[in-house]
């Protein structure tokens, strides 16, 4: 409909070209605000800023014109790639400059609402054009114009200027909201560009380092979850096609930077991430679980006679910024669970437990994994509180013979192999840096091994630990100390089990891991 009015489109096109020329002229570069002032007068005279609808239409058509110009340039073979891209950048950067100046100078200084509303409007328009474009031109869809618009606008609006500093958090929120709308699941054709934006050094700096009180962390974690959710179905298939491998590798690089620079961020949000990362993505999960606060010194897990029980850190609970307790659904189940934890009755609760966790008969989707994870962490944290309330500390004695351990032992025995694997994964996901959760769940895993009434349980515990250890580094501290304890402590008679010697490769693996542990 916008493009039905050819006269209007032509006028918009003419004005845009005029602006591009103006802002790239020597005077425009030196005094952009002056050039902007002149141009805005022009827009006003032409009626392009009269009403909200008119402004919206102007931006929609302008966005479309810029995108079309880029796409045409990119498909031309006559010029070199560098020349083509430079032509695209020139137009896109000018358009972005116009948007940035309009945002900066709209409304008055005291009221930032007008500015943010305009920004949200423009971001929404660009996102809308993108989604429409992606659906209309699957194979020919070009990420470049949209990527450039978003990242350059972000850089413009994060310039160190007083006007922009006062609205910075709202600017970040607006961008995160737009990136969430354009998450890879919604705009897969934009995925690589999306990851470029989310990984950009200025974006990372603003979201995770410069915004006070870590106010950007929650939004950034949501973007990472969007990425993991998109990758999950493809990674579950294990055999990765090249496009997926590339996106996965880019994700690993980003996670490495986060692990190095913002480990506390990974610590705080590890729970939500592990909920959406498929169980077979072991290295990626290990990366997240290996994070520990920078002010912490981890004792060497290979220290002979390391007394984990004596470490002061195990008295402290880690931050978990997901409300996992509310993820135990339905409410009736949560109520029954709390009742059982309080009274250790009725026994029927245990026999019905499996049913609450199973959701379908479809292979690979039989269990509610988020519910399993929430149940495990909830029961474990309740157990820690209960033990502390008795003025004890969690250890191999105090964790036993409780409603909490009833539940864990019941799950270990009653679930089928798939369910048990997922259950043990949920426990292993809490084996991180020294803290009360790591310690409790390490003891729990070892207790379940020692008290297992079948070798299958012991085999699966071993499988869950081993597969997390044989991948390339990093490895979480809690994982290492649990495995070392399992193979060193004669209580567990680890080396006497058949599954340790079931094949030469497995034997070699254990020997190799044991050698490096001891």
């Amino acid at each position: 409909r916008d493009f039905d009015d050819l006269g209007y489109v032509e006028k918009t096109d003419y004005l845009l070209r005029e602006w591009v020329s103006l802002i790239h002229s020597p005077n425009g570069i030196r005094e952009p605000t002056k050039a902007f002032g002149t141009f805005v007068q022009h827009l006003n005279v032409q009626g392009f800023l009269k009403t909200d609808d008119v402004i919206t239409r102007f931006f929609r058509i302008s966005t479309r014109l810029c995108v079309d110009m880029c796409c045409q340039a990119l498909t031309e073979q006559s010029n070199s790639p560098t020349v083509v891209r430079t032509k695209c950048y020139t137009t896109l950067d000018a358009y972005v400059k116009l948007i940035a100046l309009l945002v900066k100078h709209s409304g008055d200084t005291a009221n930032s609402g007008t500015k943010i509303n305009l920004l949200n409007k423009v971001l929404g328009i660009v996102a809308g054009v993108l989604l429409h474009d992606q659906d209309a031109h699957t194979i020919e869809f070009q990420q470049l114009p949209y990527q450039r618009m978003f990242i350059m606008l972000f850089l413009e609006l994060n310039a160190p200027e007083p006007i922009l500093e006062t609205i910075n958090f709202q600017v970040l929120t607006a961008f995160c909201h737009t990136l969430h709308i354009l998450s890879p699941s919604k705009a897969p054709g934009f995925s690589y560009a999306w990851l470029e934006i989310v990984s950009h050094r200025v974006f990372l700096g603003r979201m995770l380092a410069l915004t006070p009180q870590q106010k950007g962390w929650g939004m950034y974690s949501q973007l990472l979850m969007d990425l993991f959710k998109f990758l999950a179905p493809f990674l579950r298939n294990a055999e990765l096609a090249k496009p997926v491998t590339l996106l996965y590798k880019g994700t690993l690089r980003l996670l490495l930077v986060l692990l190095h620079d913002f480990p506390e961020f990974l610590c705080d949000y590890h729970y939500g991430f592990c909920d959406v990362i498929p169980p077979n993505c072991i290295q990626m999960r290990n990366l997240i679980l290996s994070a520990f606060p920078r002010n912490m010194r981890l004792p060497d897990p290979f220290t002979p006679n390391l007394k984990v029980d004596m470490l002061p850190e195990i008295a402290h609970a880690p931050r978990v910024l997901t409300n996992f307790s509310s993820m135990i659904q339905p409410p009736a189940f949560k109520k029954d669970l709390d009742s059982y934890l309080k009274a250790r009755a009725p026994v029927t609760f245990l026999s019905e437990l499996r049913g609450n966790l199973q959701i379908s008969q479809e292979p690979g989707m039989a269990y509610n994994i988020p519910l399993m994870n929430a149940l495990v962490l909830y029961v474990g944290t309740q157990a820690i509180n209960y033990i502390r309330s008795k003025s004890h500390t969690p250890n191999m004695t105090t964790i036993a013979h409780s409603a909490h351990m009833d539940i864990f032992q019941n799950l270990a025995v009653d679930l089928d192999t798939e369910g048990r694997y997922l259950f043990l994964n949920a426990i292993a996901n809490q084996l991180r840096y020294p803290n009360s959760h790591t310690h409790y769940f390490s003891c729990t895993l070892l207790y379940l091994f020692a008290e297992a009434n079948s070798e299958a349980i012991q085999e699966q515990i071993t499988r869950v630990l081993l597969e997390r250890l044989i991948v390339n580094r990093p490895h979480p501290w809690g994982l290492l100390i649990t495995f070392i304890e399992l193979i060193k402590n004669p209580t567990y008679k680890f080396w006497l089990h058949e599954f340790v010697h079931c094949a030469p490769e497995i034997e070699k693996l254990f020997e190799s891991v044991a050698r490096s542990c001891m």
Binding site: H24, S25, P26, I29, R30, E31, P32, S80, T82, L155, A159, L195, E196, S199, H200, R201, L204, G205, L208, A209, L235, A238, E239, L240, T245, L246, Y248, K249, G250, T251, L252, R253, L254, L256, V257, H260, D261, I282, Q283, T417, E418, R420, A456, E459, Q460, T462, R463, L466, E467, I470, V471, N472, R473, P474, E498, F499, C502, A503, E505, I506
Partner: protein
């Protein structure tokens, strides 16, 4: 033992399959994350120079923009008046600067070519530029090597250093070549 994919046999099967299928390795055994071009032992934060999810190296200094007052951006008004870039006009010092600060760029190769023209030779094993020290005679010379005192350029201390070398000619790079498909240097520009 557990007979399905959730026990040790399942793990073993996957590991065995990964031995022949490289696509499976990336998830089964993971990758060497130290080979992704990030200095994970750096005491400084990585994000300020992070080149992006598919960059093998961090950003070069010239790739990192900084906000400057618009008055500083004079290129548009003077670029037509600047002489074109001609490497043969510049001193060795600038050529070394271009060589060391533009890895993986046409400029690196162009600077290398000009250094070669000035009788510098790149030692492929020592990874330094070497030239004959003026006034110093070669002590020994055969068809495959020569020995004597030469200058090499030390990029850490940014100076020429005299040193005795046994120069095996096979270890010296020949004339550098720009791939013909690449765009030549822009005719105008400024530094």
């Amino acid at each position: 033992m557990v007979k399905d994919q959730f026990g040790m046999v399942g793990l073993l099967t996957f590991i065995r399959a990964a031995e022949t299928d490289p696509n499976l390795v990336s998830l089964a055994l993971g990758q060497d994350l130290t080979a992704l071009g990030l200095n994970l032992n750096s005491p400084d934060n990585l994000y300020p120079t992070f080149g992006g999810p598919w960059a093998d190296t961090p950003c070069r200094p010239q790739d990192i923009d900084f906000h400057v007052p618009p008055e500083y951006l004079v290129n548009a008004s003077i670029r037509e008046k600047l002489p074109p870039i001609r490497l043969n006009r510049y001193k060795d010092d600038l050529l070394f600067y271009l060589f060391y600060t533009n890895p993986g760029d046409v400029l690196q190769i162009a600077a290398a070519t000009e250094l070669y023209n000035r009788e510098w030779r790149y030692h492929m094993e020592e990874k330094v530029w070497i030239t004959q020290a003026p006034g110093m005679q070669v002590q020994e010379k055969t068809s495959t090597y020569e020995r004597g005192t030469y200058y090499y350029f030390d990029p850490q201390n940014w100076r020429r250093v005299a040193k005795e070398f046994h120069l095996d000619y096979s270890k010296l790079e020949g004339r550098p070549h720009l791939p013909p498909s690449l765009v030549p240097m822009p005719p105008t520009g400024s530094i």
